[in-house]
């Protein structure tokens, strides 16, 4: 049983969720103004999952993410200014402007990267868990991925390996009801993706992905199991993607009322706020202070990013290889 979150955990979690929300609201605005390019996928609506899972992780734990990676990066402690600069393609970006939204990584923070290949993060986290086990680091590795990714062969192969080797890994499936423009029910014949754990005799859990407290509890259990040597788990979080698949998505394929219902009644930030204030865990003024902080941080990130220099075209071939003698070599 996971202990209930402390006040500090709640403060950090709210800050994380609010930062994700504000960061991405800023992105949508910037794209609309034509100031940002590339393929951007927002995490709005799913914030509670990254915040609650990462609340149990330290810097020596690893996370592998997806194309929808901003939330996981922020929750894992990647610097928001660096992220914004990255999206602007600047030299000061997390990846020096070379990666972009789908490739933000910060290995020093245990963030193995967003990933443009659906399902590809799952084996990466499995490998990080293998390192933790063999080197006895005490670390845990978490793979975040979507419902759609659970249809990839890499999912199957990885969970099987993790179960065989009893790795300290947690597989967090964020089931948001859609894979791009196709409803999950159309391509996944089981009601719960958690059911798939049976194919590997793996521990499975289901959480309400809109409820920070539920995800916190379930993820806590899964991560404690992993850390304690009891092996991997599959944690399914039921959630919803509030915005389009990508920024610019015309959203013609989704009934408007479907999204409206979720947004109105199941917004994870509003649910969180209602509960913490109702239960006296945090005060309204605590929350508003964080909002102010976060707004300032995001504004500052944008301001700095757009003033930062671009990389130099002459550096095109830098960093292909670690062995510098081969740099740019064919």
């Amino acid at each position: 049983m996971t202990r209930p979150p402390t006040t500090e955990v709640l403060q950090v979690a709210y800050r994380t969720m609010r930062t994700i929300r504000s960061f991405e609201e800023a992105l949508v605005a910037l794209v609309t103004q034509g100031r940002l390019g590339g393929f951007l996928h927002t995490y709005v609506g799913q914030e509670a999952i990254a915040a609650a899972v990462c609340a149990h992780l330290g810097e020596h734990d690893h996370v592998a993410s997806t194309h929808r990676g901003h939330g996981h990066c922020i929750a894992k402690g990647v610097d928001v200014r660096g992220m914004m600069a990255e999206l602007f393609g600047r030299r000061t970006g997390t990846c020096g402007g070379r990666g972009g939204s789908m490739h933000i990584a910060d290995l020093g923070k245990g963030m193995l990267g967003a990933n443009g290949i659906v399902g590809a993060g799952i084996p990466l986290a499995t490998g990080a868990a293998l390192t933790a086990k063999l080197k006895r680091t005490g670390g845990v590795a978490v793979a975040f991925f979507g419902d759609g990714a659970s249809n990839q062969g890499a999912f199957h192969e990885s969970l099987n390996m993790a179960a065989n080797w009893s790795l300290p890994a947690v597989y967090v499936c964020e089931n948001n009801g859609w894979g791009e423009f196709t409803p999950t029910a159309f391509v996944v014949p089981v009601k719960d993706i958690a059911e798939r754990a049976r194919a590997y005799a793996m521990h499975a859990l289901i959480a309400d992905g809109m409820d920070f407290f539920d995800v916190y509890a379930q993820a806590g259990e899964a991560i404690a199991r992993a850390r304690g040597g009891a092996g991997p788990s599959l944690l399914e979080c039921k959630t919803y993607r509030f915005l389009g698949h990508y920024v610019g998505d015309p959203l013609v394929y989704r009934a408007k009322h479907e999204a409206d219902d979720w947004i109105r009644h199941r917004d994870p930030l509003r649910l969180f706020e209602a509960r913490v204030t109702r239960e006296g865990l945090l005060t309204e003024s605590n929350l508003r202070a964080i909002d102010v902080d976060v707004a300032a941080l995001v504004a500052d990130a944008v301001a700095r990013a757009q003033d930062a220099p671009f990389p130099d075209a002459g550096e095109l071939l830098h960093g292909v290889f670690a062995t510098s003698d081969a740099e740019g070599a064919r």
Binding site: E86, C95, R98, E180, F181, P183, V252, Y253, A329
Partner: protein, 342 residues
């Protein structure tokens, strides 16, 4: 049934994406065995009122599910399963057309092309037919970054038993796709980002552009610029630039990467004695290298100068605009390479 002889109608300027859609519609209407499969190509079957399918990430297949409800199949995100099933369907009587969203995803589904589709006929003693088409988006230029911008057609072109084609304009896209779908061999049909939303004249009706035939798209006498897909436009722009300096450049559009039209390459080399090949892919093990190698082999006696390859840089595709531009071939780089040969 070859439609090459049917009268093709009047041309209209439409984007390549629409020309592709037209080819799909014609192919499906003319052959009940043609099916489409891919992620979001139908978009979830019966839709709630007021919604529409998006028709694949590039909206190319939009509207097709309405016209052919049983033959446009949304798949899970399971490229290996999709391509493998397509091979199985192709050898048992269907003529599948698969949408592989980006060619970068080849990493998840190479085996059905590498070890199944391409080898069945030969390995089974010349007895199988594998009428499979894989449509896939290639190329950089949209800041789609390292995993959504590659030009991996060299990987499929290098596989014996597989054909790979790449149009440079909307009319060829339509005709090549019709030829690919009706071909009894597996064909990879590349849809370069750089031309997908560019409009050009496309004939109405049913026609095919033959696989395996390059085309001279501009006559010239001083230097040959050999391009493919989006680099044909770059080569034409470079040729226009060169012309201002009094240099007459011929432009050859390969159209088919495998089989390669070796004769057409040697013919243009024979006319000019100088050749620059322009390839959106990275330089190693590339179509560009094959063209150069052909020139120094069968074309040796025709050569008056080195053969230059203008390609992408030998690094992953960078995200930021300034690096992505430096990474890609460009008319300026072609001009520079051509000038150095004169």
């Amino acid at each position: 049934m070859s439609a090459a002889s049917l009268p093709a109608g009047e041309p209209r300027a439409i984007p390549t994406a629409f020309a592709i859609a037209e080819a799909l519609r014609i192919a499906m209407a003319s052959d009940p065995d043609v099916i489409l499969m891919g992620e979001d190509v139908a978009g979830g079957g019966l839709r709630p009122e007021g919604t529409e399918e998006i028709g694949g990430i590039m909206s190319v297949t939009r509207g097709l599910v309405g016209q052919f409800p049983d033959r446009v199949l949304d798949t899970p995100i399971s490229e290996m399963g999709i391509l493998g099933a397509a091979v199985g369907a192709a050898v048992t009587g269907l003529r599948p057309v698969i949408e592989l969203m980006f060619i970068d995803f080849l990493g998840t589904c190479l085996d059905p092309l590498l070890n199944q589709a391409s080898k069945f006929r030969y390995m089974f003693g010349g007895k199988a037919r594998v009428p499979l088409t894989v449509r896939t988006v290639t190329g950089a230029g949209l800041q789609a970054a390292a995993q959504h911008s590659q030009s991996l057609y060299w990987m499929t072109a290098g596989i014996p038993g597989l054909k790979t084609v790449i149009p440079s304009n909307a009319a060829d896209a339509k005709g090549l796709l019709l030829a690919a779908i009706r071909c009894d061999d597996p064909v990879v049909f590349c849809e370069p980002k750089g031309i997908l939303f560019v409009a050009s004249d496309v004939p109405e009706g049913d026609y095919e552009v033959p696989i395996g035939r390059a085309k001279v798209v501009r006559r010239g006498s001083d230097v040959s610029l050999v391009g493919m897909g989006a680099t044909v436009g770059m080569a034409l722009a470079a040729a226009a630039d060169l012309e201002r300096d009094g240099v007459s450049a011929e432009v050859l559009d390969l159209r088919s990467l495998a089989p390669l039209d070796e004769d057409a390459i040697l013919e243009t080399l024979g006319r000019t004695g100088r050749l620059v090949v322009v390839d959106e892919a990275t330089p190693r093990c590339s179509i560009a290298s094959d063209v150069a190698a052909l020139c120094v082999d069968r074309g040796f006696d025709l050569l008056n100068a080195p053969v230059r390859r203008v390609t992408a840089a030998m690094c992953p595709v960078p995200f930021t605009r300034v690096l992505e531009e430096a990474y890609m071939p460009s008319p300026a780089r072609i001009v520079e390479a051509a000038r150095a040969l004169l």
